[in-house]
């Protein structure tokens, strides 16, 4: 009898427990306040308890899923994930428009001396810092550019983008008190002198390392100390930073006094920096724009699907490739490299594996970039020739035990890479092993040349062939991981660097590219495309092929 009652008591405790828990869950789930129904009720701000519950809309707010930036200090940013915010908050002398033209920004215009080495920038008089305290002067630019180069700032990228300036190297090494190539003529005039004429110098100035910061605010903050000022940066860009909750959220608001047309139309841009899948967030109406990966592209392409109308595509200035270590046998033999390249069915990779999210590569330069060579022949899928070349190079035996280096966190290596290896095995009878390394280690190993093959991508810093051919494949470049060296190519690239005539310059790059493709230091695989979904009420949004301030062109129309 007693046991019976005891059991009854306990059972009821348990039932109550479950009911309470269940109830709690229901309350919690419902608590979001109508997030479940996706009705486009604008301005539903009535008493919701989630302060960044993304289902709620503020008029004129664009909601995005963004990368979690490493820094918002323009002098220090070396990654696209950080630059994406910096280009909206800060600005420089010049910038890119969406057609990839260099346009005046804080500078109203500029003149270049006849010998191509002296750039004189006339600054606009109406550009104020975000706190409206004062206009930007040439002095601010001198401070900011020197800050990027200052060894005390400890920026890894200052020299990369500003080393054309006379005196930059001495200053960066701590041997000079100022960069002599940066001269303040008067508060509205800045003169930059470079060592030798360069067609890409003006494009390098669009990079954050050349952006202006408020010296009174920044003080002696470096890349590794005193980063607190970046929570309230006093920039000059189209948007102000309203809030940065590290790792969680970034909120930008429009800078109504922005000096370029069009001035921002959005009132607010909210970036969510962490969360689940951005595609699901888009479907749940938590964000307005999302990129699309391979898992979702088919459902989106379905013309009868709900999301089909939201699909947008654009070029992306990049190339994904397999690099060979051309310094050492057996990969110092162009025949072997060509054999491997010819045994890759690029059409099949692009269509079957990447579902047309990419463009098969026929050279190094991506479509959409100046100097892209339409006339360049496709790299054929030609196993017959490949086998012949392989035999000439010593037969399949020379690849015994060969490895290809790739970066990864221990998950399965990319399908693409596995597919390429399968093609090599099937067409050439060679077995290559994949070696996976954590990203930091991978970068070091390819930098030091301790690899046989590696797979990597390269994305444009600025839309110029120099950024691909000269940086990655000139024998003297520190970024030439493949160790490729062809004096003829070097000569063409050097000549192009000095060539003032644009058409002639691009032609030189095309000649260099043809030679490179013949030598095949890389087996280029494909060029990416940006595929993304945009809600119908968002107008004017494009994903630029590399980091460009693009939010001021966006409007919300509901």
């Amino acid at each position: 009898m007693e046991t019976r009652r005891l059991v009854l008591t306990l059972t009821s405790i348990f039932v109550v427990m479950i009911v309470v828990l269940g109830g709690l869950t229901v309350v919690l789930v419902a608590g979001g306040g109508g997030d479940g129904d996706d009705g486009p009720s604008a301005g539903d701000d009535g008493g919701d308890d989630d302060d960044n519950a993304l289902g709620d809309r503020i008029e004129g707010e664009l909601r995005l899923f963004g990368p979690d930036p490493i820094t918002l200090d323009p002098a220090c940013a070396s990654d696209a994930g950080s630059a994406e915010y910096i280009v909206e908050i800060f600005s420089g002398l010049v910038s890119f428009d969406l057609d990839l033209n260099v346009i005046p920004d804080v500078a109203e215009d500029w003149e270049v001396s006849d010998d191509g080495t002296v750039y004189t920038f006339n600054l606009r008089s109406n550009v104020l810092f975000h706190d409206n305290s004062r206009p930007v002067t040439a002095d601010d630019f001198k401070f900011s550019l020197e800050r990027s180069l200052d060894p005390d700032t400890q920026s890894a990228v200052g020299e990369v983008y500003l080393d054309d300036l006379i005196g930059a190297a001495e200053f960066a090494d701590g041997d000079a008190d100022e960069v002599t190539g940066i001269r303040v003529i008067d508060p509205q005039t800045l003169e930059l002198t470079i060592i030798e004429p360069s067609a890409v110098f003006i494009e390098k100035l669009t990079y954050p390392t050349a952006y202006v910061v408020d010296q009174r605010e920044v003080g002696d903050a470096t890349c590794f100390a005193g980063g607190g000022w970046t929570l309230t940066p006093n920039g000059t860009g189209p948007f102000k930073l309203e809030e940065w909750d590290l790792g969680r959220k970034i909120v930008l608001t429009a800078n109504p006094r922005f000096h370029l047309e069009p001035a921002p139309s959005l009132e607010r841009v909210t970036y969510i920096l962490s969360g689940g899948s951005s595609f699901v967030m888009y479907e749940n109406d938590e964000i307005d724009i999302t990129g699309i990966g391979i898992n979702n592209i088919e459902s989106v392409r379905d013309p009868n699907g709900d999301l089909n109308a939201d699909l947008h595509e654009g070029p992306s200035l990049d190339v994904f490739y397999i690099g060979f270590n051309t310094r050492e046998a057996p990969f110092d033999d162009a025949k072997l490299r060509n054999a491997l390249s010819l045994a890759i069915d690029r059409e099949f990779l692009a269509q079957e594996f990447l579902l047309d999210l990419v463009e098969p590569a026929k050279g190094i330069l991506p479509p959409g970039m100046d100097g892209y060579n339409e006339a360049l022949a496709d790299i054929p899928f030609d196993p017959e020739t490949a086998r012949g070349l392989l035999d000439e190079a010593g037969g399949p035996g020379v690849l015994d035990g060969a490895t290809i280096l790739t970066s990864g966190q221990g998950a399965a290596p990319s399908d693409i890479l596995q597919a390429v290896l399968a093609m090599w095995e099937q067409e050439l009878g060679v077995t290559v092993t994949i070696e996976q390394e954590d990203f930091g280690l991978f970068l070091r190993d390819i930098d030091e040349g301790s690899f046989e093959m590696f797979s990597l991508g390269w994305i444009a810093d600025y839309p110029d062939p120099q950024n691909f051919l000269d940086i990655k494949l000139h024998s003297q470049s520190s970024n030439n991981e493949a160790g490729y060296s062809n004096p003829q190519v070097d000569a063409l690239l050097d000549q192009a660097d000095r060539e003032a005539d644009e058409t002639a310059r691009l032609e030189l790059y095309q000649q260099a590219e043809e030679l490179i493709v013949d030598d095949m230091p890389w087996a280029p695989l494909y060029h990416g495309k940006a595929s993304y979904l945009v809600k119908p009420y968002v107008e004017g949004f494009v994903i630029p092929p590399f980091v460009i301030p693009n939010l001021r062109y966006v409007t919300i129309n509901r």
Binding site: V29, A156, A221, C223, E283, L443
Partner: protein, 326 residues
Amino acid sequence: MPAGLATYIIRRLLLLPVILLIVSFATFALGRYAPVDYVEIQAGPRAQPETIERIRDERGLNDPVPEQYMRYLGNVLTGDLGVSTRYQGFPVEDVIFPRMWISLQYNAVVLVLTFAIGLPLGTWAALRRGTWQDPLSIGVFLLFASVPVLISVPLLQWVFAVQLGVLPSGGWSEAEYLGVELGIFSKHAVLPVLALTLPGVAGIARYMRGQVLEVLDQDFVRTANAKGLKAGTVVTRHVARNALLPIVTILGFELSALIGGSIFIETLLGIPGIGLLAFESIGSRDYDTITAIVLVGSTIFVLTMLLIDIAYGFIDPRIRVEGSIS
């Protein structure tokens, strides 16, 4: 407070710095001897090798590791936990404590829920021994316990976020309650709580069931029943209290498992808590942040264990500390 207990607590607290010293050195050395450092990683492929080497030099990364450690230790002792490099230039404490707060919120709820469901369930199952309810009740939860979070989390996301659309697929949001930023009442908290509670219940319930069964067979329970005490009183006063003691021990282990589990849950669900931060910090070789996380984590763990030891004494007067617990 009895004198014995005070001595015991003091002795344990004195041990804490020693533990922290060992732990911090191990973490520090592991980081420094691991290939590649944060300068190289963050510089990216474009930076010139000379620049990287110069920065490394200036930041003291080329000094011998023991020397670097002594410098670090000196800073920590003056209250300076160092500077983050994942969030370049921010003091470590500004980075880790807000993240810990997030993980603490949902982990506390998980801990409470796991025990709140597990204990009654285990007791109930024990009292229903020999019937079909016993294996079924715990078996259901055992099923949850057998599914790794790597599978259960995507599954939960698919059901609640994609199919039903009632929950966000990940992330975290907070609102202010009485001046405190809390995220636990938002629906972002439901998935992590579910994903961690469901697999935890079975362990607690099974353990409790075993304890209750053991206690039920004891003479004093039979006596209590015989002298006509109400069934509820028998269970709460006699059975539960005696069965709970060993359970307190698992509380400590449960806690440390949760800290470790946070890394997976937070990475999968994109919750910006301490687990995700730890994961990212390792990838970006954010030395000071990693070491600080380990230090703070160890401190919490040691203190919890101490509290549990003390709690023993209150639950079971037989174990009043006389140095009998090592």
